[in-house]
Amino acid sequence: MKFNAMTAMAAVLFSVPGLVSADPDDDTLVVNGEIEMTTKAEPPAHLDGVLPTIMSGWHFRADETQALQMDDFDNSGMIFVDEGRAQWNKVEGSEGKSCATCHEDPSSMKGVRATYPKWDETAGEVQTVAMQVNDCRENNMGADPYGYTSGQMANMEALIAVQSRGMPVDVAIDGPARDMWEAGKELYYTRTGQLELSCANCHEDNYGNMIRADHLSQGQINGFPTYRLKNAKLNTVHARFKGCVRDTRAETFKPGSDDFVALELYVASRGNGLSVEGPSVRN
């Protein structure tokens, strides 16, 4: 057969009859009848007009899925926040401390999720929440680090994210983080893999369209860690990035690698202005 993968994919995508291009909806997300989430916002300046509005992945899901996020007792991700709370209070490591020993209540983490990934002066690098958690565990608690995309890390990320729920994402893209941000931006727009797709091909050029039976979102990460119906568990950003890259049939980067940290910083900045939703519910 003499055609390349791109044309094949194009032909398949456009030849499937009956699948209507479904636009994102106009519903509003209020959690527990209290927390009003900003799920649509003016795009941040650095996007230079490539997106007319930025939208949370929530808008691209079916009504039944959206409903699951509206109440903390419908949201299965919340069991893992409870699990994270148990971890927070658990004494571990050579120093005989738990997170609570220094940080007291998880509410002290308010604002953290909204501004990460972030340049850490002491560490001399951009850090994600996961890196910060392991930094604390290893250096302050003398405990083993959590696996970067492990269940325990996801639980802790969910506990920390919940403290910033409703707050607008606001990651810094200038100053010492600038280089990392530029590297992430370049990755975002680079075509990779057998299918020669970049993040932008789907999430910037085709959000709102159907890719087979999946409703493409803008690929925002304000809702992470997210409880996915597909695997009935919490998923972290790097785990999802890895899955996405694998789906383009490319060699994936490693969770926790500089490439993914840069990408996370860049993708997070594309959502500056949307509310932190974690843990969210997605397909």
Binding site: D71, F73, D74, S76, I79
Partner: protein
């Protein structure tokens, strides 16, 4: 006993006598259906929560027989009548013999 099983229940702290209230329950559990195979091709044996009950002061509200088609992290929403102050007791029965319980006290409003 399956590890890491954690219930999460929404029940009102107080109610009027005779009031009908909404109860929501979640529990973290894999609900291994017995349909999956491991990387060697062997069937992973079924291991699910097969029964969920809710009783108020010893009288039954709901008793659910659960099969492998109930999703991972089983969720139930139902309504209960609260005749008086008392304890709402929830139990989840695991195939491996464990019984997980959670109790929520309801006062009279």
């Amino acid at each position: 006993m399956a590890s890491g099983v954690r219930p999460r229940v929404k029940a009102p702290r107080s109610a009027e006598a005779g009031e009908v209230v909404t109860i929501k329950t979640l529990i973290s559990h894999k609900m291994e259906s017995g349909q999956r195979k491991d990387s060697d091709g062997n069937v992973i044996p079924r291991s699910i929560i097969h029964r969920f009950t809710c009783d108020f002061n010893g009288t039954n509200v709901i008793d659910v027989k659960m099969e492998p088609a109930i999703s991972t992290n089983p969720y139930f929403e139902f309504e209960a009548k609260i005749p008086e102050a008392g304890d709402m007791v929830f139990t989840w029965h695991d195939d491996d013999g464990s019984v997980y319980t959670e109790t929520k006290s309801v006062a009279m409003a």
